[in-house]
C-alpha cells in the first residue's frame, strides 16, 4: 500500500482566546480602580478597628507641619486655610447632609489642630466622620 505524502503543517500559537483574557483583565482593573483624591504622604496612627472608607468621601488632610488640604471627594486635594474649613464643610453639607468626611491626620499632630477642625465641622452640622488609620501590627516579644 502506498502511504500518502506527509503534509507539512504550519506551526502557530492559537491566539483566539487572547482577547477574552485581555477583556477579563480589563474588567478586573476597571472594578478595582480607585482614583485617589489625595496622595499626601504622612504617617497615620494605627488601630485595630478599621472600616472601609465610603467611595466619594470628602477628605481633610493635616500634615505633621499643620498644613491643611481638602477635597470634596471628586477633585484632588488643594491647600486651605484653617479658618476656611467651616465654609468648606457648609458647602459640602448643603449639597449632601449625609456626606461622609475622612480625616487624614499625621500621628504626631497636636490635638488642638484637630479640635479646631472638629469644632468647625460640628458648626456645619457634619455627621459622619472617619479617622483614617493604618492597621496596628502586633509586636512580638523577643526575649
Amino acid at each position: 500500500m502506498k502511504i500518502g505524502k506527509t503534509r507539512a503543517v504550519d506551526a502557530y500559537i492559537p491566539t483566539a482566546s487572547m482577547a477574552d483574557i485581555a477583556f477579563l483583565l480589563i474588567v478586573f482593573f476597571m472594578i478595582t480602580t480607585v482614583f485617589q483624591v489625595d496622595k499626601t504622604v504622612l504617617v497615620l496612627p494605627r488601630s485595630d478597628v478599621r472600616s472601609e472608607v465610603v467611595k466619594g468621601s470628602a477628605f481633610i488632610v493635616v500634615t505633621e507641619g499643620g498644613f491643611l488640604k481638602v477635597s470634596d471627594g471628586k477633585e484632588d486635594t488643594h491647600p486651605i486655610d484653617q479658618s476656611d474649613v467651616l465654609s468648606f464643610a457648609v458647602d459640602l453639607m448643603s449639597k449632601n447632609s449625609e456626606q461622609p468626611i475622612v480625616l487624614k491626620v499625621d500621628h504626631n499632630v497636636k490635638w488642638h489642630t484637630v479640635d479646631q477642625i472638629l469644632d468647625q465641622l460640628g458648626q456645619a452640622h457634619a455627621k459622619n466622620l472617619q479617622f483614617l488609620t493604618d492597621l496596628k501590627v502586633k509586636q512580638e516579644k523577643f526575649e
Partner: protein, 155 residues
Amino acid sequence: MKLEKKKSNPEIPTSSMADIAFLLIVFFMLTTVISATKGIEHQLPQQDKKTTENIEKEDSIYIKVNADNTFTVDKEAPASIDGVGMLKDYLYPKLSNNWKKPIIIYVNPEAKYESMIAVLDVVKQLEAQLIKEKNIPNLTITIPTQAEAETWGYQ
C-alpha cells in the same frame, strides 16, 4: 475566457482586538490604586436635636487623654497610653451592666492625635465585642471639642 470567481467568506477582522485590549490593561494597571483606605468611624453629635440632655460627669465614663502620653479614666491613677489595652478590662463590666452609659473622651489640646486614636480604638473594640455578645446598639461615644468641654465643665 471564463474567469473563475473566488468565493471568500465574510469576516470581521479581529487581529487588532488583543492590541487594543492590552493597551487598556496597561492604562488601568498604571492608574489602579488598590484601595487600602480604612479608618475608625465616628458620629458627631447633632446640635439641632430637640432633646439635648446635659450629662453629668458622674453619670458617664470619663476618659481623659493627657498631654504627657498618659490617660486617666474616672478617678483612677494616670496610666501610660502604651498600656491602653487595660482600659478594656475596666470598661467591660461597667458597660455590660449599662451600655447606655455615655463615654466621654476629653483630649488635652497638647496631646498627640495618635493618643486619642489609641483610646478610641479600644473603646470601639469594646463596642464591637458588646454588639456581638449582648446584641446592643452602638455605644454613646463623645469627643467634646475644647469649646464644648469648657461649656460643660469637662476638664
